[in-house]
Every structure is written in structure tokens, then in C-alpha cells.
Subunit: 138 residues, 4 copies
């Protein structure tokens, strides 16, 4: 059985998009993961604030790493995101993914995205994953 | 009152992330928008398929352009996405955003993301926006 | 293999809540189901309009019957509902559940709830189900 | 300005559906509300467990009371529910609604539904409301 940090590296080291985003690991344990990143100018939309997909991406990656710490290869089947504050270039964001309930095939996660500076929430994300029969191995 | 295509250009021409993604306009009318893009290797995740944020981004941009054709500056307050098929590098995707109901302050959109090759759905997205009091003007 | 109408009766005839609601079948086929009902005074909330759970219940039942026509005992894992118009006592409602994508374990449904009088949408519902290994049998 | 408990009574005392359900108030404060109820045989579905609309109704009422403590008449625009465990006749349920972020027009709530006996979660619910311009008054 691989450790959460080993599964993280098997995923993240082969994940060009999370790396393009500049995501960095804050912590990973069985059932949880926290990531952080800084918003760059190329991540903005036509309103001059971060594109909705940027906060989504950070949360979705934290969710993906958290649900794969189960040891089973796990894929997202449903996500919701509620945007509650605009995000600007230069902002540091943190996404904290927590397993709310672990099932055999289906598990449920809450992911909170905050601005690191003042801790204000910028989005609330929920994710449901499906655990496949396939284990993570080296 | 600006035309949908004028509002699209005011947004898209100043949207570095949608442009980094390589999104292109297929059609825009009052209440609807279709975009397309091709998945590139830098958009993949650790499973070797498109990161969930890629399909999300395409749908979210189509939703944003569609809801701003109202003429009011409009922001996303809620999105859900259901991933139903993996997406690979080289795949062409299309996101078709349709207004399902227009309100004064709140409107509701359905966005379907398909693989252009065979028309198979890869994700279902729903978006709710809030229309601000501020009009789009040149 | 049971027919959709047989599965419907096995479920509905033993479903006291759907019967208390006064739901009636309009049509059922593999992957789809339409139900209707009339809103009664005991279904209202403190604003004098139908409680949000009433439109939810009608949609949720239509979703449940539709996803069980797969022949596998199937349970809801995620639902979203967007309320777009108030519903009043005396209104007839119709919920039209359509399978948008059928998977082995996970399937996706769109359910539209309309007011029968004028066909106006009152809510948009999405449902995801999990198909168990257990078949429906007499 | 009315107190949360006064707004609760203006709503609940005129809410035949929440009363038919047998909901009872545990606590209400500005931005939060906890309700409880016992599942009765007439609330079951064709699988012999509580209809999905039962847990939804309890959460939706707790959400409605919580968001109206703002002092503004407030309506639901979006709800999601994730069912994570079956609920049986006789079970006591508790729904705990907490405001996660208060805005001028749009606010966001998390509602957790647990089985009172062992505290196990049975569903996770998220609600977004729209605050109208109209105040609650006696």
C-alpha cells in the first residue's frame, strides 16, 4: 500500500496542467490535501479577475489528490463550485480538500478555497468521486 | 445597446486565459454561445487525460459569453459539472451554452460539452449568473 | 428482464410518499419517465407557495423511476435543483426525466419541471445515480 | 428589526408542509438554524427507506429559516444534495444550516443532515439564496 505522499508524486509529477498553474503542495494525508498557488496575469478573464476555471482547477486538483489517497485510482464524477469573491492577479490562493464521507465506490469531499492573505473564502467546492477497482502501485 | 458579437469581443479580446486555452468562437446570439478548442498536452493531468478544469474552462467561458449577451455585466454565482467521459490530447471539444430561463437578476444556463469528432458528450454543466446593474458599453 | 412499466409498479405501488404526494404516471420507457401531480394546500410553505421539497420530490421520483428502468436497482447519489418560478396551490406540475448518458455504474439524468397549464419551467433538476449489481425481479 | 425567533415563527407557523413533516426547532440564531424530525412510514419510498425528498425537505427548511434571519425576505435559487446513507422509518434526523458567506443579494449556506442517534451524516446539502428588497415585519 502506497503512502499518500507517494500517490501524490505519482500523480502530480505527471500532471502538466497543475504544474503550469504553479500549484504547490501544502499538506497531504489520508483523505485530505491542501494546495496553494499564486494567480498570474495569464489566468485572468475579460473582467480583469481570475477566470472561474482557475479557482476550479486548484480545488479540483486538491480534490483529486485527496480522493486518490484512498489507494484506489479515483475519478471525479460531479463537482459544484460557488464563486463568492473575485480573485486578482498576485493573489495567493489555498484549496483545502477534506473527505466528508468515505464509501466503497463513492466518496464525498468538501473543498474550501481561501485567499491566503486574509483567509477570506473565495469559493466553495464539492466533489464526488468514483473509486475504481485498480490500486495505485509504484 | 451593444450586439452580442460586440460584447463577446469586449470580453474575449481582453481574456488572456480563454486565449491561452485556444478557445475560438463558433456562434453567439442573444442567450447562447458555442465555443470550440483543441486539447493540448499541457492540459493533461496525472492520468494522462484532460484535467477537469479544461472542460470546465471551456464551458464556463461559453456560459460567461452567453449570459453577458443580456447587455448587463453578469457574473457566475454557481456552476456544476458532471464528467462523463475522459478527454485526450488532440481531441476537439465544443461547448454549447443555452439560456434556459432569463430573469431580471438571476438567469439559468445549460452547457453541454461534446467531442467534435463523434458528438459524444464529455460533460454536462449548469450555470447560474447574477446580472449587475451595469450595462455593457463601448 | 422486467419491462419499465413492471419496474415502475414494483416501486410506485410500494412508495407511500409518492402516493401521498398524489403523483401519477404520464409515461415510462427505458431511460425516461414523466410524472404529474397537483399542488395541494398542505404542500405550501410560510410564503404561501409550494415548499421547495415539493418540486424536488416530483423530480426526484421521476428520476428514480427513470434510472431503475435500467433493470438494475439504482440509487441517487447527487441531485441539484434550480428553482426559477414560484408554484401555487392548485397548479399542476409535470416532471420529465431524461437519461442524458448511461454508464455501467453511474448514469446522468436531466429532469425539467414545468407547470402544465402554460408549459413554463418552474425548476431544473439534475440527478446522478449509482446502479447496484442487483437486478429487478418479480 | 425582527429577531431570528420572530422571523422563524412568522414563517413556520404558516408553513403547513414543514408542520406535516413534523419538523421542530432545535435552535435559531442570525445566520444559522437547526431542525429535527422523526421519519414516519408515510415518508418512505419503494425501497422501504426515506424518499430523497424527506431529507431534502428538512435541510431546505433549515436553510430557508437560516437565510431569512438576515431580516430580508429570501428565496432559494439553488440547492444541491448528496445522499450518503439510507434513512429508515423511526430514525430521528437533524439538519444543521450554517451561513458560510453573507452577501448583499446572494448568500451561501452549508446544511449537514445527520442521524441523531449516532451522529452519522446521511446527506450534505448546499443552498444559495437571493435576498429581496423586502424586510420582514410583524
Amino acid at each position: 500500500m502506497l503512502e499518500p505522499i507517494d500517490i501524490f508524486h505519482l500523480m502530480f509529477d505527471n500532471d502538466p496542467f497543475s504544474r503550469w498553474m504553479g500549484m504547490a503542495l501544502v499538506s497531504i494525508e489520508k483523505g485530505s490535501c491542501t494546495l496553494r498557488m499564486q494567480v498570474r496575469p495569464e489566468m485572468l478573464n475579460g473582467f480583469g479577475v481570475a477566470h472561474g476555471a482557475i479557482t476550479f482547477a486548484l480545488a479540483d486538483s486538491a480534490f483529486a489528490f485527496a480522493c486518490n489517497t484512498s489507494g484506489y485510482q479515483s475519478v471525479s464524477i460531479h463537482c459544484t463550485i460557488e464563486h463568492v469573491a473575485p480573485v486578482e492577479a498576485g493573489d495567493w490562493l489555498e484549496a483545502i480538500a477534506i473527505e466528508e464521507r468515505a464509501g466503497n465506490r463513492i466518496s464525498n469531499y468538501s473543498i474550501r478555497i481561501i485567499r491566503s492573505g486574509d483567509g477570506a473564502p473565495v469559493a466553495f467546492f464539492r466533489g464526488i468521486c468514483f473509486h475504481k477497482n485498480q490500486n495505485w502501485t509504484k
